[in-house]
């Protein structure tokens, strides 16, 4: 009975606020927005706690195995993503209370519709409906990104974001059409029954096209170029949902479609390759940034690569690891973005070098930031730690992917800790203010002011949740992942109204092994951060070779990120072609 509310409630609240928002007292409008998001979170949490449900809208049940209406097919993974999204939106709503000088109910409206889109996207069991909610989410996200419409940066970022994502979405839609012509159905489970065992070139080409739009949203190499431009320029409260839930939603769609619809083992190799490339590109680019939000944005790319590697092995172990990783990463990354937002609010800058030592004014932000950095590198206890362990375990047979995943954890953790050391402890020499490669400081949204409770409480709350997420029932996640990949059992539940038994969870990695691994990555991340900060004190014989490798590597990668939308769409075309060719012509 709860199923429709995560979509309906935020939408009604949004329409109400947009229609009447400027006539209502500001407090009341804020309360409505926050209340709607909180109730949505509650509904999703109840759905998460229950068994998998199938809800047919309009009461239109399938007839003799043919789905006619639209269903929500809700399992722990989808409901979990919806809970995460509503928590992040809640944090964003709180954070934005004092973030804008002017009343921002339009911002709240955009956030609420974004939430409805995310919820519908994670719960639906219908392929075209998935596309519709994808577009709801996208349209709201474009608006959020361009919200600071007085600066060129956000507008330019929004253009790149909107053009690449829309182009990707239409390619997805053409793939959906091709699948529809083969199956005569739009329900995922129904379609699965029609294509099971017939994976000819039509299905493979369509799978590549359908995945493209979601991979663009997930910022997987070579579709990642738009992300940093958009995430770095969007208002901070929007960033936390973009990085914490929207990117992950793209990956969720890939996993869900593979599990419930395609069941194509051929996807493993191209997805793993893309995951590895994403880890490495994200890690290098993240480490090379000095603009804090850009740094965090590129770290999101690296982590998206890690999650994709977990999904790409197409086994319950990797998938459940990816699920846990998404939860932990979303909470930690959101808290880090909020810390960056507080720095911008208090110190009016977000440039790592310019902020050298100035963070001492706000030590508590530093504590939160450092904690976030450690957790991002894989320190226990978070769901991210357990997810990381499970992904490593699942990647046993793929040493290159294991290496890439480790590099991503170390480099992103080190980048955050380096920034933390420089800003809050004043470590390292003051760098000459060289005109940094294409990053400009950001215009703050408010006058410099003390940090209000509505900003630091959400950040602390999210970190506390991240630590609490370590105690999520991992067997539940494991069996939900096994279930997600079992298209047959989905189909019997959706089309035949059977309630199949939950499969047993995959074996877990021994805790000691995970702890040893975490000690290694966190230790290396701290060491790397310190080495970078104090590199001037190292002998030249060590610095020379490192510079000889690093400078051309980072330089050439940076040169590819031109920020021109034409380049990004050219890469997109190449990416679709590569993905499609690797499936069809292998």
């Amino acid at each position: 009975m709860l199923a429709p509310w995560p979509v309906a409630l935020p939408l009604v609240a949004a329409a109400f606020l947009a229609g009447l928002g400027d006539k209502l007292p500001r407090r009341l409008a804020d309360a409505i927005a926050i209340g709607a998001a909180a109730i949505t979170a509650l509904c999703c949490a109840l759905l998460l706690a229950g068994p998998p449900v199938v809800y047919w809208f309009g009461g239109i049940q399938p007839r003799s195995g043919t789905a006619i209406g639209i269903d929500f097919a809700i399992d722990a993974n989808g409901a979990g993503l919806a809970v995460l999204s509503s928590l992040l939106i809640l944090a964003a709503l709180f954070f934005s209370l004092k973030y804008f000088d002017k009343p921002a109910h339009m911002f709240q409206v955009l956030l609420l519709v974004f939430l409805a889109g995310l919820c519908g996207f994670s719960l639906t069991g219908d392929l075209f409906d998935l596309f519709v909610f994808f577009e709801v989410m996208s349209a709201a996200a474009f608006g959020l990104c361009a919200y600071k419409s007085r600066e060129v940066g956000p507008l330019q970022g929004a253009i790149n974001f909107a053009v690449t994502n829309t182009a990707g979405a239409f390619i997805t839609l053409s793939g959906i059409a091709l699948l529809y012509s083969r199956t005569g159905a739009l329900n995922l489970s129904h379609m699965h029954r029609m294509i099971a065992g017939h994976d000819d070139s039509l299905v493979l080409a369509a799978a590549a096209l359908v995945c493209t739009g979601f991979l663009v949203k997930a910022a997987i190499v070579p579709f990642q170029f738009w992300l940093a431009d958009a995430h770095a320029a969007a208002p901070t409260p929007a960033c936390i949902v973009f990085s914490g839930a929207m990117v992950e939603a793209g990956l969720y769609a890939v996993a869900r479609l593979q599990g419930a619809l395609f069941g194509l083992p051929q996807l493993r190799t191209p997805l793993l390759a893309a995951g590895v490339a994403t880890c490495l590109v994200g890690a290098v680019m993240c480490f090379a940034q000095r603009h804090l939000k850009r740094l965090l944005a590129f770290s999101t790319i690296a982590h998206a690569g890690v999650i994709l590697c977990g999904i790409a092995v197409l086994e319950p172990g990797g998938l459940s690891g990816a699920g846990l990783y998404v939860v932990g990463h979303g909470l930690v990354k959101a808290a880090l973005f909020l810390c960056a937002g507080m720095l911008l609010h208090r110190l009016q800058s977000i440039d790592e070098l310019a902020l050298h030592g100035r963070g001492r004014e706000v030590p508590w932000v530093g504590v939160l930031f450092a904690l976030g950095g450690l957790l991002l590198a894989g320190a226990p206890p978070t769901a991210m730690f357990f997810g990381d362990g499970a992904i490593h375990h699942a990647l046993e047979a793929h040493p290159i992917a294991r290496f890439a995943v480790t590099v991503a954890s170390i480099a992103t953790g080190a980048a955050v800790l380096r920034a933390c050391g420089r800003i809050f402890l004043g470590l390292g020499p003051r760098e000459p203010d060289a005109p940094g490669g294409g990053e400009q400081d950001e215009e703050p949204e408010t006058e410099a002011a003390p940090i209000p409770w509505s900003m630091w409480v959400p950040a602390a709350f999210l970190l506390a949740l991240a630590i609490g997420s370590a105690w999520l029932p991992r067997e539940h996640a494991g069996s939900a992942a096994a279930r997600m990949l079992d298209a047959h059992s989905w189909a019997t539940q959706v089309l035949d109204r059977a309630q199949p038994a939950m499969p047993s969870p995959p074996p877990e990695e021994p805790l000691a092994k995970g702890l040893a691994h975490a000690a290694l990555t966190v230790g290396l991340a701290i060491a790397l951060a310190l080495l970078t900060l104090f590199r001037k004190r190292l002998p030249e014989i060590l610095r020379g070779p490192v510079r000889a490798v690093w400078n051309p590597l980072a330089g050439s990668l940076r040169a590819l990120h031109t920020g021109a939308v034409g380049d990004q769409v050219a890469w997109l075309t190449l990416g679709v072609a590569a993905l499609g060719a690797s499936l069809v012509f292998s």
């Binding site: 199923a3 429709p4 979509v7 309906a8 939408l11 009604v12 329409a15 109400f16 947009a18 229609g19 009447l20 809800y55 047919w56 809208f57 309009g58 239109i60 007839r63 006619i68 209406g69 639209i70 339009m106 911002f107 955009l110 519709v113 409805a116 889109g117 519908g120 075209f128 409906d129 519709v132 909610f133 577009e135 709801v136 349209a139 608006g143 361009a146 419409s149 091709l178 012509s181 199956t183 005569g184 159905a185 070139s201 039509l202 493979l204 080409a205 369509a206 590549a208 769409v569 050219a570 890469w571 997109l572 075309t573 190449l574 679709v576 072609a577 590569a578 499609g580 060719a581 069809v584």
Partner: protein, 248 residues
């Protein structure tokens, strides 16, 4: 630019190859035989009393898609207004700028007469389309856009001031919220009746008549309101500064 074109060229060739490999396995155009469409064509008149099957699909069998679609439109209009809005302090700066030409009523009587004649025809046509969505081609979306052209005709034939009189911004905004929320609230009717969200719980009426097909007609109406006011607001957002001057 050259490197970009080379990149795109390779990608385009690959895309064409993948597409060709996939599409040659499709049935040729004209040989559709999917079960989904056949069932819907067979059941929508007896079950929903809607002689326009496309409407029945959009507003009933796949009504959730249209809820999403409605909010895509809605949120885009909200976002456009938020992006193009001007801050108070900037407007004062703009006062010094070169005067932009305000659209006054045209001198020609012929144009005015044409407008006067066009408006009622458009209104009737739009309303007909919205109300007969479950019977014949057309519906809330198409009718809504047709209705939205009325203020535009007024703007062109009678000037910005008259435009503001018939399409005041507050009304457009309120109508939009009402239309969008209305769709979701009609969806809730099903839940109130103890059934599922978006269930068609309103009496169905006679097939072929305007007010048949239960919620399909009601939903068409809300979409008509939302789309009509939404397009008016879109247009207003683009000519905002001209309208502001007319207000003064």
């Amino acid at each position: 630019m050259k490197a970009r074109l080379v990149l795109f060229g390779i990608g385009a060739l690959g895309f064409a190859a993948v597409w060709f490999a996939g599409a040659r396995k499709l049935d040729p155009m004209g040989s559709y035989h999917g079960a989904y469409g056949e069932i819907l064509n067979a059941v929508s008149v007896p079950e929903r009393h809607s002689t326009n099957v496309v409407s029945a699909v959009n507003f009933d069998y796949r009504g959730l898609d249209t809820l999403g679609e409605e909010f895509i439109l809605y949120i885009s209009v909200v976002a456009v207004a938020a992006i193009l809005r001007k801050q108070k302090d900037e407007e004062e700066e703009d006062e010094d700028e070169a005067p932009t030409q305000l659209r006054e009523a045209p001198d020609s009587d012929a144009v005015r007469l044409f407008g006067v004649g066009l408006v009622p025809v458009t209104v009737i046509f739009g309303l007909y389309m919205i109300s007969h969505g479950s019977v014949s081609p057309g519906g809330g979306f198409q009718g809504g856009v047709v209705l939205a052209t009325v203020p535009l005709v007024v703007y062109l034939c009678a000037g910005a001031k008259t435009y503001l009189r018939i399409a005041p911004p507050a009304l457009a905004k309120g109508g939009e919220g009402l239309g969008a929320a209305g769709y979701a609230l009609i969806g809730c009717l099903g839940v109130l009746a103890g059934k599922k969200f978006l269930e068609n719980v309103v009496p169905l009426g006679t097939p072929g008549e305007a007010w048949s097909a239960g919620t399909i007609t009601l939903l068409n109406l809300t979409v008509g309101v939302a789309v009509g006011t939404g397009f008016v607001e879109l247009i207003s957002s683009f000519v905002e500064e001209l309208l502001r001057k007319a207000e003064k």
